[in-house]
């Protein structure tokens, strides 16, 4: 089958609409994932045994099951219990919850990596609990987390095509409808792949820079 540039140019506006939705889903999903992860990480550290165990099992469970099925779950079951969500909102919640369990691990590791002496020193100079977190722990814990968090946001971006399965009109869905309408699969499918490569390869380079910049100084 020949590559048809005319068809490529004609399909660009439709694909662009999909790109916009893909970017929206990634942006909203990242905000949610970063927030959900923080809450899960804090709940895992809770002194209440029940809360910490529940959040640990929640993380294990969500990480052990496919995002696609979780999306179906949100999209098909919530309306049964009276919660009607637009496909995009259901998709963003799915992405946010799924990747929130990944970012939770990053937060957890980041906080656990702070040497015990820092906590003890904060106690010794009589800082309150919130001062300890705000002035001592968080400023040291955040920088090493940045590359890992960025990594998961890129991963989430690459997984957004799954939203097409719950009828979100993102890039993959637009490409599929173009393909089905014109019965030409080569160009739309290839362009979706090229689009993701064009974004994710520079992101990998950017990520390596981040890693160098925020690498933990060796003592």
């Amino acid at each position: 089958m020949e590559w048809d540039w005319q068809f490529v140019i004609e399909s660009l506006p439709t694909l662009w609409q999909g790109v916009v939705v893909t970017i929206q889903a990634t942006a909203l999903g990242s905000v949610l994932a970063l927030t959900v992860g923080l809450f899960l990480a804090i709940m895992c550290r809770s002194p209440n045994w029940f809360i910490s165990q529940c959040s640990k099992w929640f993380i294990e469970f969500v990480r052990g099951t496919p995002l696609l099925v979780q999306l179906y779950f949100l999209f098909y079951i919530l309306p049964d219990v009276g919660i009607l969500l637009s496909p995009l909102v259901a998709g963003v919640i799915g992405l946010g919850l799924h990747y929130g369990t990944y970012t939770a691990e990053v937060y957890r590791a980041g906080i656990d990596n702070i040497p015990k002496g820092q906590w003890e020193a904060a106690k010794a100079v009589n800082l309150t609990k919130s001062q300890t977190w705000k002035e001592i722990i968080i400023p040291q814990a955040i920088p090493p987390m940045i590359p890992a968090l960025a990594n998961y946001i890129i991963a989430m971006f690459k997984e957004t095509p799954l939203l097409s399965a719950i009828t979100v009109l993102e890039l993959m869905n637009q490409a599929r409808s173009l393909s089905n309408f014109h019965y030409r699969y080569l160009e739309p499918m290839t362009m979706v792949g090229v689009f993701f490569l064009l974004i994710s390869i520079p992101s990998v380079i950017f990520l390596r820079r981040l890693e160098q910049r925020y690498a933990r100084p060796h003592h």
Partner: protein, 218 residues
């Protein structure tokens, strides 16, 4: 009740396909991980470039995009692929690209003294890799390989979108036939989780067995 059992059987049929895809996908991924991971450290430039291209290409897009490309575009190029083959290819090649980086990282993490000792004993490069470096590196790789295998298992769900009757596909069939959403989706979520637990337990057992007698500090 009788009726639910019938539907459960349908879902279990799908589970068999999901397990087949996972096992074959993992086998291909493991093979690609070692080939590309070792090629990436080769002294031949061309091998390094080929391996890097493969790795970046497959890590740059998701299994879903690769699967659709394999399924819709390869037949146009005269390569007939069944949905099952397309699934195994996309899963194995994608996860293999992630695995290649694990292989490289693990081999490079082995103390330099080990290689030097191999040199001093006059071992060939292949013998050094086979008998000195890899037995130690494999133990380092295992935990991440376990995570990759679980990612591959989760990836298998997308084959339902090219009409392959895996667990996710069957749950959609059950949903369409019964109108019930909670039963099929909750069932397969639990089944996926159970398979993931089997993978992580197996890997942990394997890790213990392989690290026996090795000087690995954990």
């Amino acid at each position: 009740m009788q009726q639910w059992l019938g539907y459960l059987e349908l879902i279990l049929d799908g589970a068999v396909l999901t397990v087949q895809l996972t096992v074959l996908g993992c086998a291909l991924a493991l093979f690609m991980a070692f080939v590309a991971g070792l090629a990436r450290m080769s002294k031949f430039r061309i091998l390094r470039i080929l391996a890097t291209t493969y790795i970046e290409f497959f890590r740059g897009t998701s299994i879903f995009v690769q699967l659709f490309w394999a399924y819709f575009v390869l037949p146009l190029a005269g390569i007939p692929v069944s949905p099952f083959i397309a699934g195994v290819l996309a899963l194995g090649l994608n996860v293999g690209a992630y695995g290649a980086e694990v292989v490289r990282g693990a081999v490079q993490s082995i103390d330099k003294g080990q290689k030097e000792a191999g040199l001093a004993l006059n071992l060939t490069p292949w013998q050094r890799m086979r008998h000195i470096i890899l037995p130690q590196a494999v133990v380092v790789m295992l935990p991440t390989f376990g995570n990759n295998a679980i990612e591959l298992l989760k990836g298998t769900a997308v084959v339902s979108l090219i009409s392959l009757a895996d667990m996710t596909f069957q749950s959609q069939v059950v949903r369409a036939q019964t109108g019930s959403t909670a039963m099929p989706f909750l069932t397969i979520l639990v089944l996926y989780f159970a398979i993931a637990m089997v993978i992580s337990t197996t890997v942990r057992t394997l890790e213990k067995r392989l690290s026996d007698g090795l000087d690995v500090t954990k």
